[in-house]
Symmetry: C2
Subunit: 447 residues, 2 copies
C-alpha cells in the first residue's frame, strides 16, 4: 500500500522537526489516515503534527484516536484548545475518554464543559463500563408519532445538523415512550401527507442501556441495523447506538477473545505503543498458573517412573502425544468459543455439541493413530508404536470432549467462555493424556 | 434471553407439524430471529415454516440465511416461488448465492431471471471470490455533479425505492467518472439551491472492485463509513459496499482467523448444521502435518537417550517445559497475527516487533524460571531443577521470537499470517526447546 510509504515520512518529518513538510503531509491525508499515524507515535511526538492541523480537522482526527492516545494529546494542549475539543466531541466518545482517564484529566475535562454537555456526559458515565449506555449517542432527532412526514422532514432539516446521526429516527409517544423507528429513507420516499404513526416500524429491535454493548453490536449485525434505539427500564427513549460504534465494538471484542484464547489478558492500546512491561503483565498471570498446574504432569510421570526406566522408548513419544492431544483440544475449544460468541451455539446445545465433538475427536484420533503407528514402528518397533497409536485415539477423543465442554460449562456458570483458553485446555489434556498413555503402556507392555 | 425459550418451540412445532402454531410463532418474530431458527434446522425441516411466511417477509428472511441454507430452501420451492425470490434479491446477495451453488441450482437460477437482473448478476460474478466486486450493490442512486441540492433530492425521492441504500450518494462527472460522495444528510441539511459540486466530498475514500473485500471492510471501520464507493480501473463508479456487508465480512474474517489460529480450515456454515465429516476434514490436514513434524521431537529425544537413561528425572519435566514454551509462543503469535489483521503492525516493523517480543519472552522466562526452580527442587532436587529453570528462560525467549517472527515473515512472502497457527509455533518450539533443554542438561549435569 502506498500509505505505508508515505507514513514513514510523517515520523521522519516530525523527528526532523520539518514543520512545513508536516503541514503538506497533513493536507494530503484523510483524518483516519492521520489518526493511524499518530497512534504509532508517543504522545510527545504526536502533539507536534496535531497542533498543526486545521481547526475543523483537529476534532475529526482526535475522535479517531484510542482513549490512551487522546489523553496523551490532551496533556500537550493549552487550556483553550483542550476545552474546545472536549466541548465539540460526540458525547459518547467523550464519556468513554473521561471514564478511562486519570482523575486529574477527568476533573479538568469536566470542569471545562458547558452545563448542558456536562450533564449529558455525567448521564452517560452513570452507566457501567461496556454497557450500551456508555456507547449510545443522545444527540438524535426524535419524532413524535402524530407528525406528518412533510413536517417530520422539516424537523430533521432544522435539527439534523446537531445530531450524530439522522438515518434512523426514533419515534416516541407521550412521555418519550418508544414507539418504534422510521428511517430517513422512509421520510424521503413517502408522501408528505402520510402520518409517522402509519409508517413507523414498531417491530424495530431496541435494547436497554444497561445491557452489554457487545450483545447489542452483534444484534445490529444480525438485523442489519444502521442504528439501534436504546431505552430505559420503562421503555423511554435514551439514545442511539450507531453502526460505526458497532463495528469498533465487534472488532475490539474479537481482539479480546483472541488474546484470551491464547491465555493473555486483552491490552486495549495500539500494539506499537504498548510497553514491554504491560505485555508481560498481560501474559504472565495465566502462564504462572499453568506452569504450576503443569506440576501435575511431573507427578504423573513420576508415578510411572519405573515403567519409564524399564522402557525408555516410552519417554520419546511424550512430546508428540501430548502435542497432538493439545492441538485437538485447542481446535474444539476455539470452535465452540467462537460459535458461542456469534450466537450459533447456546448452553442448552451442550449434549449435542459434546456428542458431535466426541465423534470428531474419535475420527481424528483414528486418522492420526495410523500415522503414529507408522512413525513409531519405524523409529522404535511395534510394541511401543501400538501403545502410542492406541493412546492417540483415546487422547484425541478425550481432548475434543474437554475442549468443547469447558467453554459451554463456563458460559453456563456465567463466566466468559473465552477464558477457557487453548493453553488451559492443553494443560489439562497434557496431564490426563499422560495418565491414559502410561495406563495403556502398563496393560499392553506389562511394565 | 426469552428468545431462547420460544426458539425451542419452533423446532417442536415443526416436528409436531402444528401449522397454526408455526404461523403464530412466525407472526410474533422478526425476520432475523426467524432466519436464526431456520439456520439450526436441516433443509427439509426449514422449508415448512418458510413456506408459511407472508410473501413480503419471505424475502427478508431468505436474505438473512447463509448461502448453504438458502440452497436447501430453494430446492424445496416450486418454480414460481423460486424465480420470484431470486428476482427480488439484492444483486450482491444473489451473486454470492449463485457463485457458491452447485451447477444445477445456478443454471436454474440464472435462467429464471429477467434480462436486466441476469446482466447485473453476471457482471458481479465476473469478479473473483472475496473481492469487493462480489459484495457491492449496483442498485444505487447516482447524482451528477452539476445538479442542485433540491433537484438531487427529487431524484432520490423518485429513484430511492429501488436502491439498496440512499444514505451515501455517489457523485459522478461525465462518463460515470467518480467525483466523490454526498450523504443524504448533506442533501437534507443544505439549502435547495446549493450545487452538488460545491458540497461533494472529493476526499471520500473509494476502492477498486478487484481489491480484497476484507481490506475494504476494515477501511470502512477505520473511516466510519456507512457505504464505500467502488470504482473500476479507470475510476468509473460501479457500486457501493454497504455497512451491513462490512459487519458480516469482518465477523466472518475474524471467525476464519480464529479457526486458522487453532490449525483448522475455516468452515463457513452454521456450527449446528455442519456434519462431523466436514469438521474432521477441516481439522485433519494440519493435525496430520503436525504429527509428522512432531517426529522431530522423537528424534531429539532419541539423540539424548543416553542422557535420559542416566538421569530419568530429566524426562519428568519434558511436558512442563515444552508446554510453557508453546504457551509463550502461541501468545506472541496470536498478538502479532491480530495486530497485522487490524493494521496496527506492518511488515517493516519486523525488527522492532521481534526486539520487543524477545524482551517480553525473556522477562516471562525469568518469572517462570523462579517457579520452575521451586517446583523442581521440591520434586527432584537442585541439579535437575537448575537445568529446568535455565531451559525455561532460554525456551521462553526463543518461543516469543519464533511466535512473532513467523506471522511477519508469512505476510512478507504474501501468505495469510493467520496460517501461522499456534499449533505450528508450538510444534517448532517443542523440537527446538527439547534441543535447548538437553544441551543445557549435558553441560550442567555432564551426562
Amino acid at each position: 500500500m502506498s500509505e505505508g510509504e508515505r507514513a514513514e515520512e510523517l515520523i521522519d518529518l516530525v523527528q526532523a522537526n520539518d514543520l512545513s513538510g508536516i503541514r503538506l503531509w497533513l493536507a494530503e491525508h484523510r483524518p483516519y489516515e492521520i489518526a493511524d499515524e499518530l497512534s504509532r507515535m508517543d504522545g510527545g511526538e504526536a502533539i507536534i503534527p496535531f497542533r498543526l492541523l486545521d481547526k475543523d480537522r483537529e476534532l475529526e482526527v482526535f475522535e479517531e484516536l484510542d482513549p490512551g492516545q487522546q489523553q496523551a494529546i490532551l496533556l500537550g494542549l493549552r487550556d483553550a484548545a483542550f476545552r474546545e475539543i472536549l466541548e465539540e466531541m460526540d458525547p459518547d466518545d467523550r464519556a468513554r475518554l473521561i471514564g478511562e482517564a486519570p482523575a486529574k484529566i477527568a476533573t479538568r475535562a469536566l470542569a471545562g464543559l458547558s452545563l448542558s454537555e456536562r450533564k449529558m456526559t455525567a448521564a452517560l458515565l452513570g452507566y457501567p463500563e461496556n454497557s450500551v449506555g456508555r456507547y449510545m449517542t443522545p444527540e438524535t432527532v426524535i419524532l413524535h408519532r402524530d407528525l406528518a412526514v412533510g413536517r417530520a422532514l422539516e424537523v430533521v432539516r432544522a435539527k439534523g445538523a446537531d445530531a450524530e446521526t439522522i438515518y434512523t429516527l426514533p419515534v416516541v409517544g407521550d412521555g418519550r415512550r418508544m414507539v418504534g423507528t422510521v428511517t430517513l429513507r422512509d421520510l424521503v420516499v413517502n408522501g408528505d401527507e402520510r402520518l409517522i404513526k402509519d409508517i413507523v416500524d414498531v417491530f424495530a429491535p431496541r435494547v436497554r442501556a444497561s445491557e452489554p454493548v457487545e450483545d447489542a453490536a452483534r444484534l445490529m449485525q444480525e438485523a442489519n441495523l444502521v442504528s439501534l434505539p436504546v431505552v430505559d427500564s420503562e421503555d423511554r427513549f435514551l439514545g442511539l447506538l450507531t453502526f460505526d460504534d458497532a463495528l469498533e465494538i465487534i472488532e475490539a471484542a474479537d481482539t479480546e477473545d483472541m488474546a484470551r484464547q491464547s491465555g493473555a489478558s486483552p491490552v486495549s492500546d495500539h500494539y506499537v505503543t504498548v510497553g514491554v512491561l504491560r505485555l508481560v503483565a498481560a501474559r504472565s498471570v495465566w502462564l504462572m498458573l499453568l506452569i504450576v498446574a503443569a506440576t501435575l504432569t511431573v507427578n504423573v510421570m513420576q508415578a510411572f517412573e519405573s515403567a519409564l526406566e524399564a522402557v525408555t522408548a516410552l519417554a520419546l513419544f511424550v512430546p508428540m502425544l501430548i502435542g497432538t492431544g493439545g492441538n485437538v483440544g485447542a481446535q474444539s475449544a476455539t470452535a465452540i468459543v467462537r460459535a458461542l460468541a456469534v450466537g450459533e451455539v447456546r448452553v442448552r446445545d451442550l449434549p449435542s455439541v459434546i456428542w458431535k465433538e466426541a465423534r470428531v475427536g474419535l475420527l481424528l484420533g483414528l486418522l492420526l493413530a495410523g500415522l503414529a503407528l507408522a512413525i513409531g514402528s519405524l523409529l522404535v518397533g511395534p510394541d511401543v508404536a501400538l501403545v502410542v497409536a492406541c493412546s492417540v485415539i483415546a487422547v484425541c477423543t478425550w481432548a475434543a470432549v474437554i475442549g468443547s465442554a469447558m467453554p459451554l460449562l463456563a458460559r453456563k456458570v456465567g463466566v466468559d467462555p473465552a477464558v477457557v483458553s487453548s493453553p488451559m485446555v492443553t494443560t489439562i489434556v497434557d496431564a490426563s493424556g499422560l495418565l491414559i498413555y502410561f495406563s495403556i503402556a502398563t496393560v499392553v507392555l506389562g511394565v
